[in-house]
């Protein structure tokens, strides 16, 4: 039944990803404790985006999945971003 062999990710690889994620977490904590004014949120969110990209790609195996699953995930995130932008069209210009 299995059409193709599953890609088996090695334990070591997961450890590396975890270390990167932890490093990003600590740097985001460090960065936001510096007074950056209005860039604090932008900075923190940037780190969060990179971290979530890593989780999606490696922990959630998107890198090894078929393209159409990646397209779906990208599409859903795009829909969310568009929705929040449109909602803010109201609030930013009130």
């Amino acid at each position: 039944m299995s059409e193709e062999k599953h890609h088996i990710v090695s334990y070591k690889f997961y450890v590396i990803i975890l270390l990167v994620l932890l490093a990003l977490t600590f740097s985001s904590v460090e960065i936001t404790s510096i007074e950056l004014g209005k860039y604090t949120v932008a900075g923190a969110l940037l780190f969060a985006v990179v971290k979530s990209y890593l989780v999606l790609t490696y922990f959630m195996h998107l890198k090894f999945d078929k393209p159409y699953i990646k397209i779906m995930v990208g599409f859903v995130f795009a829909v969310f971003v568009v929705t929040i932008v449109i909602t803010l069209l109201d609030y930013l210009y009130r």
């Binding site: 449109i86 069209l89 930013l92």
Partner: protein
């Protein structure tokens, strides 16, 4: 594709499984039986909703109190709305015809997750009972309108929580159906059935399923927030605590506008099946219809703000929403052109489903064009919250989804029950219903333009004439409905046996016997390179 089934082979209606009688139905994971379970439960609720509608029209027969007071009227339109939207038009075509036909149309034996499918139906029933419990118990029937607008929804003393929770559960049912259909369409198409050979009804179900999946959680969490607001007073939508009630409207319509497309897309899909069959001609612009389906699904997501022009949004947002609303009209118009062009030079076979389909196009166009009046910022301000909106909405949703539902039931009836209905009575029913529909909703456009507001049990003397016509229309429509339902119910048991392909359709469901056998196909069909769903000679 040919079928040599013996007449007496167990079809899905007669099949005896582990359980007998009623249990054999409510524990069955067969997509066809689940489709019928939906048909019966949705049909029952439709009668309840229609009776509430008739009661409202009766109240509006004359100014002042006729049969109910203001509070009862508020409760009536709320319950009418909740029932009709969440229990009938949203699940209507996908849950009934999608469940019954989609697996057959793609050459599969069932949906991808049959047990989940049955669970969806149970959730539907649970949601129905929750909402109904709000009517029977507690401190009065909800009176917020089906929109549950903040802050009134957590200030009203009526028993709102069960209704909100019920809508949430119904939403969950809808999500699971959408999820199931998406996986089914992705994974279970029979060999050779490429995406570009899918019947259009399946394509519209695909688009619908995406909206169900992505939009329903939005209203789900919003309703949870309303409940939390009522119970704890968190302040998220409460202006007294810094919340913004307009944000509630945004979130509500982020779901509820796409929900209109959940209602109308499968309706368009059913029409796209019926018109080629009764024109015996390949559908005109197959790919254009698919593209417009997807465009409607996507752009329809982005236009929710046109329900809120007078709520106090920023000007920028208003321009934006108005512009996109006009854009979403284009793909809908493309479909109308495609349907008309399909009929052109076809060999038209005038039968009941075709009557319904053509009248669908008629009312859908009036509904759509009146929608442009509402989508345009400048005119919307004048007719906002008037009877004009009610007229437009019912032309689209009742005229669109309702007519399409009746077209679909008359089209697939011989497939579902293996029997044919009385065609003469079906045609009479259609005609009476159609006349009643026009008489009921057309005056609302006029009344709205004259300035009659919606959602009041009373009106000024000058609106009397239009309202009398409208109420008379509701009686004619009800008569038509009685004729149609009686004819169908009677024929399902006593009608003459139908052939497996009475309309000479080309989609896969017509290749299996009527009613279909338990697992649809003895062996999974294979679609040849030059085969297609609309290849008429």
């Amino acid at each position: 594709m040919h079928t040599t089934h013996a007449e007496n082979e167990a079809n899905y209606l007669k099949y005896k499984g582990k359980y007998k009688g009623l249990l054999g139905w409510i524990l069955s994971t067969d997509h066809k039986r689940i489709g019928l379970l939906y048909l019966y439960s949705i049909g029952t609720m439709f009668i309840v909703g229609a009776l509430l509608g008739l009661a409202m029209k009766f109240e509006l027969l004359a100014p002042g109190k006729t049969i109910m007071n203001a509070q009862t009227y508020n409760a009536t339109f709320t319950v009418h709305g909740v029932i009709m939207i969440f229990m009938i038009v949203v699940p209507g075509l996908p849950a009934v015809f999608g469940n019954f036909l989609m697996p057959i149309m793609i050459g599969a034996k069932d949906v991808a997750f049959p047990k989940l499918n049955l669970l969806s139906w149970y959730l539907y029933v649970a949601g129905v009972f929750l909402v109904l419990s709000a009517l029977l118990f507690g401190s009065g029937t909800p009176d917020t309108g089906w929109t549950f607008y903040a802050p009134y929804s957590f200030k009203t003393g009526t028993n709102l929580l069960p209704a909100v929770f019920g809508a949430f559960v119904l939403g969950f049912s809808s999500i699971l159906t959408g999820l199931n259909f998406l996986v089914t369409i992705h994974r279970l198409r029979c060999p050779g059935l490429k995406w570009t050979k899918l019947p259009l009804f399946v394509w519209t179900l695909y688009g619908t399923a995406w909206i169900q999946l992505l939009a329903t959680p939005v209203v789900g969490i919003t309703l949870v927030l309303i409940a939390l607001e009522r119970v704890f007073g968190v302040g998220i939508f409460d202006p007294a605590l810094g919340g913004d009630p307009i944000l509630y409207q945004h979130l509500f319509w982020i779901y509820s506008h796409p929900a209109v497309y959940i209602m109308i897309l499968p309706a368009m899909g059913a029409i796209s099946e019926i018109i080629p069959t009764f024109s015996q001609k390949h559908v005109f612009g197959y790919k254009a219809i698919i593209a417009s389906t997807m465009a409607i699904a996507f752009v329809g997501w982005l236009v929710w703000g046109h329900h809120m022009y007078t709520a106090g949004m920023s000007g920028t947002a208003q321009y934006y929403f108005s512009l996109l609303t006009f854009i979403v009209a284009i793909p809908s118009a493309i479909k109308v052109f495609n349907w008309i062009s399909t009929m052109y030079k076809g060999s038209i076979n005038i039968q009941t489903p075709f009557y319904w389909a053509v009248s669908f196009i008629f009312v859908f166009m009036i509904g759509g064009l009146s929608g442009l009046v509402l989508g345009a910022l400048s005119t919307n301000v004048y007719v906002h919250d008037t009877a004009f909106v009610v007229g437009h909405f019912h032309y689209i949703v009742f005229g669109g989804t309702g007519f399409s539902f009746f077209a679909a039931i008359h089209y697939w009836f011989p497939k579902i029950f293996g029997r044919m209905y009385d065609k003469a009575w079906a045609n009479i029913g259609w005609l009476v219903f159609f006349i009643g529909f026009l008489a009921l909703y057309t005056p609302m456009f006029y009344l709205g333009l004259m300035g009659m507001p919606r959602r009041y049990y009373d009106y000024l003397e000058e609106f009397h004439g239009g309202n009398i016509l409208s109420t008379f229309g509701s009686w004619i429509l009800a008569t038509g409905l009685i004729i149609i339902i009686t004819n169908l119910v009677r024929s399902a048991r006593k009608g003459p046996k139908a052939e497996s392909n009475p309309w000479h359709g080309k989609t896969l469901e017509w290749a299996v016997p009527s009613p279909p056998p338990l697992e649809n196909f003895d062996e999974i069909p294979v679609i040849a390179e030059d085969d297609g769903p609309y290849n008429y000679k």
